[in-house]
């Protein structure tokens, strides 16, 4: 029996061959190199050329970076220390870092205030940006604008407190009246807030020293702080305004629709720098001499207008991308306009618009450097104006502009990474 069987199966292997590593040429560094860098002779040539370029760049940059001088009083001293060798003069950063970050006239003893405001920004932004953060922290988000105002501008704490009370009072009145109609509630809320702020104004005027920080004028703000300030305020203001404009543009009420269309098209048709010149130069003609209609406020208004027009168009794209059925579904549920928008349409439309909104935000943040043209000393303005014009540091270009580029890169890259994470989380591609 067994013989027969044995003949029908000529060979039965009784042990496994030990696992062997793949051939040398198909594994490890060599294979990776061959596959990715030297797969054909043309690629090989390109690889070698690219390596050479990288070498040339590093050979130039590394000695400059590593051999840099960090302690000197002027560029002349830097040159003496370097004695003809190659090296950056980073001493300008160690000597003028405070001017680059805070501007030249922010009081030195108050530097902790913008720093604290910057740190708190993360606390305040966290519950908005990450859903895993406890919801109770939203209170911090609500309080943040007032706290930041107090920290940055100083003065009595009563001023931001009155502002906060006004907002809370307005909101309570709005909640009371919203049952009758949305417009009624909105109007009542605004009136209540204005009344509280007006009355509070007397208290503030009466007690200017109550829990007071050293007041700082707007014109004393500068450096990267000014860029951050303009960027954060304008982005956070332009988002709600942009949503309203986008909705207004789709409205069936002709007057609202046309106001929104004209505003958006006009603002988008004008370069930002023109708007800034208007803010700086032309508005001054309309104001009585010596009026202190704050330049920063004027610039914030202009940049916000500009950004909200762009965001409105981005969101309009999101609204248009929603299937018609979503609108009809919301209607058939018996939701009114505000509810339909808030609960059904906008959450989906905004989700679609995230990449576009982030794009505008990043662009806007970088555009804040344009204020250096209207002689405000933001980061770039500080470099182009006072620092390069001083006899100590005239001629230090790469170090200063490299530093500016680094700061902007960190912030913009952070925003971009966050938005990619958010997109993955919300999975906007309807898989």
């Amino acid at each position: 029996m067994s013989d027969t069987h044995a003949q029908s199966v000529p060979f039965v292997r009784e042990s496994f061959i030990p696992e062997a590593p793949p051939p040398e040429t198909d594994t490890g560094v060599v294979a990776w190199l061959r596959k990715n860098l030297f797969s054909t002779w043309a690629y090989a040539l390109l690889t070698i050329a690219a390596l050479y370029v990288i070498y040339v760049i590093l050979a130039g940059v590394l000695p400059w970076l590593l051999n840099g001088v960090w302690n000197a009083d002027s560029i002349q001293q830097c040159r003496e220390i370097l004695a003809g060798e190659r090296g950056g003069c980073f001493a300008v950063l160690t000597e003028r870092w405070n001017q680059l970050l805070f501007g030249f006239s922010y009081p030195t003893e108050a530097y902790w205030r913008p720093t604290l405001a910057f740190a708190l920004l993360f606390v305040a932004a966290a519950p908005v940006l990450f859903t895993s953060v406890p919801r109770i922290l939203l209170v911090a988000t609500l309080l943040y604008p007032f706290a930041a105002y107090w920290l940055l501008w100083g003065g009595t704490i009563l001023a931001p407190l009155v502002g906060l009370l006004g907002v809370i009072g307005g909101y309570l009145v709005y909640r009371r009246l919203i049952d009758r109609s949305f417009a009624y509630g909105l109007l009542g809320g605004i009136v209540a807030a204005a009344a509280i702020m007006w009355l509070g104004g007397f208290v503030v005027a009466d007690q200017p020293r109550f829990l007071s920080l050293l007041p700082v004028q707007s014109r004393d703000m500068g450096g990267f702080m000014l860029n951050m300030l303009l960027g954060v305020i304008c982005v956070s203001l332009s988002l709600p305004i942009g949503i309203l404009l986008a909705l207004g543009r789709q409205s069936s009420l002709p007057i609202i629709k046309w106001i929104c269309v004209v505003f958006i098209e006009f603002v988008r048709g004008v370069p930002l720098i023109t708007l800034l010149f208007v803010a700086n130069v032309v508005l001054a003609y309309f104001l009585p001499p010596g009026t202190t209609f704050d330049l920063i406020l004027r610039v914030i208004i202009m940049i916000t207008m500009f950004a909200s027009a762009y965001i409105a168009e981005v969101i309009r794209g999101g609204l248009a991308a929603l299937p018609r059925g979503q609108y009809e579904a919301a209607d058939s549920l018996g939701l009114d306009y505000a509810q339909a928008m808030r609960l059904v349409i906008l959450p989906q439309a905004l989700k679609i618009s995230i990449p576009g909104i982030v794009n505008v935000a990043v662009g806007l943040f970088k555009d804040t450097t344009l204020v250096s043209i209207i002689s405000m000393f933001d980061l770039v303005g500080m470099i182009r104006g006072p620092i390069l014009a001083s006899t100590d540091w005239g001629g230090v270009y790469w170090e200063l502009f490299g530093f500016a580029a680094l700061l902007f890169f960190v912030v913009c890259y952070g925003i971009s990474q966050y938005s990619q994470w958010l997109e993955r989380r919300l999975a906007t591609d309807h898989r």
């Binding site: 030249f104 010596g290 002689s375 005239g394």
Partner: protein, 339 residues
């Protein structure tokens, strides 16, 4: 809706604007600070230092006026202006005076409706070339590439000069002094032209200043002068005579060190007595206290002291007095008498 409110408010205040702003002196006194327009940054002439305090030749002029009017040289709100925003800032009343290396020209004085109150620096346009180029005169620059700041009087002067001498050039437009310096050092142009003071300041920051020369030709007159708006002659007088007081003080030997001592009692020199308020009532005539000049000189010294401190030969800028010496030393500074 908010927009209309804002526009309405703007129109309203616009009407008020005409009524206010007649007497600058009263505004300044009431405000307690002088709003002085300065450059955003020009070596030696005006820039904030490492401590954030403005200093420089033009800045000292602001401080002297503030001292004369308010008695405090630090009571100045410096408003930085660019070449593009300087005139609107002054015309709109945002600043009370402009001390920003501005050339006094016919059209700026008349058409733009400003009053230049007197020259505080006599400048002229020159050329900076590398020594290696082997050029000794601006007339040898036929066919050269020239770095030139756009929108300035120097641009027009350059065209005039080359046309007059029947030679050609190729302009390389730059926006700021710093950019011009960079382009020139990078070899983008054979020569860099701007006011001679600016060239000296630029050269001072070079790694090897000795490798570059400023050609002897000065191809234009650039009288740099502080200016005020048309229409308030009292205010113009105050600024004008503050400058004259600084110039006269140098001529009479009054310095920041001895001004208090000299002003303490009347001396032998009647004009010095009048200037320092020990005789007559010159201060009253311009609506100031009688020791206005004492304060102005005490702020930063007389004209010569300011010059030496900010742009003179012992500073990195290293400018010689040249045309800006007193008339008694062969220069052009000549203050009308204080009488």
């Amino acid at each position: 809706m908010t927009k209309t409110v804002v526009l309405g408010a703007l129109a309203g205040v616009g009407l008020l604007a005409g009524a206010a702003g007649a007497a600058t002196l009263d505004d300044v006194k009431q405000r307690g600070t002088l709003n002085c327009g300065v450059v955003t940054g020009l070596p030696g002439f005006g820039a904030p230092n490492a401590n954030g305090e403005w200093e420089g030749f033009d800045v000292s002029m602001c401080r002297a006026v503030a001292a004369a009017v308010l008695g405090d040289p630090t009571a100045v709100q410096f408003v930085p202006t660019t070449g593009k925003t300087r005139f609107t800032a002054l015309a709109s009343g945002e600043i009370d005076m402009l001390a920003r290396n501005t050339t006094w020209t016919f059209s700026r004085d008349t058409d733009l409706k400003f009053d230049f109150i007197g020259v505080n620096y006599y400048d002229g346009q020159g050329f900076l070339v590398p020594k290696a180029l082997g050029v000794t005169s601006a007339k040898d620059l036929d066919g050269a590439t020239v770095c030139i700041q756009t929108g300035t009087t120097t641009e027009l002067n350059l065209a005039d000069f080359f046309r007059k001498n029947n030679i050609s050039y190729e302009p390389v437009p730059v926006e700021t002094q710093a950019e011009g310096q960079q382009q020139y050092l990078a070899g983008a142009c054979d020569t860099y032209t701007t006011d001679a003071s600016g060239l000296a300041a630029t050269r001072a920051t070079f790694e090897n200043p000795g490798d570059h020369v400023i050609l002897p030709e000065i191809i234009s007159k650039e009288p740099l002068a502080p200016l005020v708006r048309h229409g308030d002659n009292d205010w113009a007088d105050i600024v004008r005579w503050t400058l004259n007081a600084l110039i006269a003080a140098e001529e009479m030997g009054i310095t920041s060190a001895n001004v208090t001592e000299l002003a303490a009692s009347a001396g032998d020199n009647p004009e010095m007595n009048r200037l320092l308020g020990n005789e007559g009532n010159l201060g009253e005539m311009i609506g100031l206290s009688n020791d206005w000049a004492v304060k102005a000189i005490g702020a930063g010294g007389n004209y010569g002291e300011i010059f030496e401190k900010t742009i003179g030969e012992n500073t990195p800028i290293g400018l010689a007095r040249g045309l800006n010496a007193q008339w008694t030393d062969g220069g052009l500074l000549y203050s009308p008498p204080f009488r």
